[in-house]
Symmetry: C2
Subunit: 437 residues, 2 copies
């Protein structure tokens, strides 16, 4: 009997893990390679950034997911290249040969060629990103509390979110609630309810992939939370002082980036054709032209369904991972592969504590019911029973107490009070008496 | 009416926060200064390091603790010096004048003059320390999974803990359980149960502050968990390859430091006499000689009770913080201060999932009962109702499922596989067939 073929899956996100799970009963050896040891439940990452959840609540060790899957092992490594001719991956240390490859390394945000903006406007893709955003947001309040020059307060208390896709909308809603509810009574030197959240979108409406009437509803819900929505507004510059929209300047200490799509650079290494964002143009069965043993899935693939590109959402990642796994199983048995059929499961976005918009199976809904459906769907998909319980508990707590349990500033805690440094002053006087400090 | 006196409390640990709470109804203005935004429940920090709890479970924003205390404000700042003559603190930015000062900046571990060891053997005092230790421990398993040279496995799977006080004993017990229970089935290339945990202590028994028979019981319980206990063993060198005990070499990739006490350097700035560890020798009322308006509390103070120094434990910190606050209130009213009376609440240490030792009010107990008392006491003291619930849930889960919910490697995830780099090999073959990769 020949040895079982070796399937290497690069990336432990939704697409990669689904593929691994789908191969669990096949006569193959599976190796999952990821440079992180955890699967990240990305749809809830903004909740870590906004201090509602702990990183451990939405991430789960990849090896624990496949613990009982005896044909599968996991290695923690960075993949630096692919040699499709030799069927070999180049790792940070050593190499790894495959018989079949599933590339599921996803995408990140794109700064549209302005990579210098990243320093001032971090994106949200990893646990570290989320903790950095949390640090900036909470540190902005701390700096405002220490500020002696009150003229600086408006910039300290202005948060700009660039990009009004689901992540941008969710971030903007949550930020506004932090100021208006969570920390409203925590500061003495300024009123956190004076927080200004501006959501900037280049398209003419928020949530561009949704139906126009849902976009309109989302905008109304955001505005009711106090978010300033700026559509048809293009960012031309971001720096230390804030954001420029053409001639207009938004003075802001905290800018968050939730726009654009840039596919993982590993796609390029395959030598297959790419789209503008760097996604790999795959064959109908998700393999790449000329290499029926290499499959690309999830946010890294470009494929069309009913004339439109399949969107970079979790259901598409899950479906494509499963399809690639089935096609590999078919190849291994000498059977023909089947084309990928994308089933659109609808879209959901949440806006703050109890608002949202959604469309599922042709039905659209808004407000509390949309939020509730969003909640059920996300809890249902969360990997790991324990994580489900902890997240439910955290949410319930947050919902009833307006509290955000994970309000830690870690890393460089006292550093960001740079505006106070500029004035060199002592912190302003404490209430109730505004006497000398 | 004169303005209310300004009390500045430096440090938001047990001592500082207790002092602030005790002043909430007094006619004073209170400012808490800390370089971190959170109070840390230090007795449970080893559980973050060993991946049982999330940082957010054991830390709570200082400003949320004093939210409803209207005479109190919090500022996030680093204190760089104290000018006792001018009654002024030098901050990282600006300065802060006080009428009364409570210094509660605590202590950290001491490397006894060998500060170069810290790189190889991190201590456990902050959330960042705990996450770094977690990263090293989990990364050691990941490196072992990738190792091609099996001769390196023993060093990769040897964890040395230096110092057998409560923290060292708790760390050693938890580490042994991680290998033997939590990740036992997660790896394919080695058996995590071959993990070796060595606990090194210079004194002739573990838990030196406890009664000898409890030390003996703790040792037996540790050994039953598979921990190698080395007493009367002095570390003479720590480097990349492990630990030297005189002529003997323990080859170990992961070394953790839980020995010695070095008081916060701020104590020196007061100009008061210090003990060998840098703790401030305080007057009976916890003020410093010549400065009745300056109080030193918690782990930074040196005071004797019944001929023995008061130990650096949470109950002593809480009691001293309350005493200093009462003495300030007395001074502000022109009344005499009272001496500090330390009430020994007993000692508790936990060893793994369901073992421990304790002595309370002259009674000593061991095993499951000690663990249970430890658990109740720590839950009762945890700040914040939500944190209590989440920690209880995490523990219950861990207890019944042998699972550690917070097993994330964050930061530099794939870096530590340095041993594999040295051999330059490809990862070894996957099960079930050990064929080519």
């Amino acid at each position: 009997m020949t040895p079982a073929p070796h399937v290497v899956i690069v990336g432990g996100g939704f697409a990669g893990l689904t593929a691994a799970r789908a191969l669990r009963k096949e006569r193959v050896r599976v190796t999952i390679v990821d440079r992180r040891n955890h699967h990240l439940f990305q749809p809830l990452l903004y909740q870590v950034a906004t201090a509602a959840l702990n990183p451990g609540d939405i991430a789960y060790p990849i090896r624990a997911v496949v613990r009982h899957q005896h044909n599968t092992r996991t290695i923690l490594a960075r993949v630096d290249g692919v040699d499709v001719a030799k069927r070999r991956l180049v790792l940070d240390q050593g190499s790894l040969d495959y018989d079949y490859l599933i590339l599921a390394t996803g995408a990140t945000h794109s700064y549209f060629g302005n990579d210098g903006w990243e320093r001032w406007a971090p994106g949200l893709k990893t646990v570290e990103d989320a903790l950095e955003i949390r640090r900036r947001v909470l540190s902005a309040f701390e700096a405002a509390e220490r500020a002696t020059d009150r003229a600086q307060l408006p910039a300290m208390l202005t948060f700009v979110v660039v990009g009004a896709g689901p992540t941008g909308v969710e971030l903007a809603g949550a930020l506004s609630e932090i100021g208006r509810l969570t920390v409203a009574r925590d500061f003495r030197n300024f009123d956190p309810r004076t927080l200004r959240v501006v959501l900037v979108e280049a398209a003419d409406r928020v949530l561009p992939p949704f139906a126009p009437k849902l976009s309109a509803s989302a905008r109304r819900q955001l505005e009711r939370l106090g978010v300033e929505v700026r559509t048809s507004a293009r960012v031309t510059r971001i720096d230390h002082d804030g954001v420029w929209l053409g001639e207009e300047h938004l003075a802001a200490r905290t800018v968050l980036w939730a726009a654009g799509v840039a596919a993982s650079p590993l796609g390029k290494a395959l030598g297959a054709p790419l789209d503008r964002a760097g996604r790999v143009l795959v064959e109908p069965d998700l393999s790449i032209p000329g290499h029926p043993e290499v499959f690309v899935v999830g946010d890294l693939m470009h494929i069309e369904a009913r004339g439109k590109p399949v969107p970079g959402v979790a259901p598409a990642a899950i479906q494509s991972g499963r399809c690639a796994a089935r096609n590999i199983a078919a190849c291994a048995r000498g059977r023909p592969t089947r084309p990928f059929r994308y089933v659109d499961k609808g879209s959901l976005a949440t806006i703050g504590r109890a608002k949202g918009v959604g469309e599922i199976a042709g039905l659209s809904f808004t407000g509390f019911f949309a939020w509730w459906v969003w909640w059920l769907v996300h809890i249902a998909y969360l990997i790991g029973f324990r994580n489900r319980i902890v997240v439910m508990l955290n949410w319930a707590w947050q919902y009833f107490a307006f509290s955000r349990g994970a309000r830690l500033i870690t890393g460089r805690a006292w550093e960001p009070a740079r505006a106070a440094a500029a004035t060199g002053g002592t912190p302003a006087g404490p209430p109730p008496t505004a006497a000398k400090v």
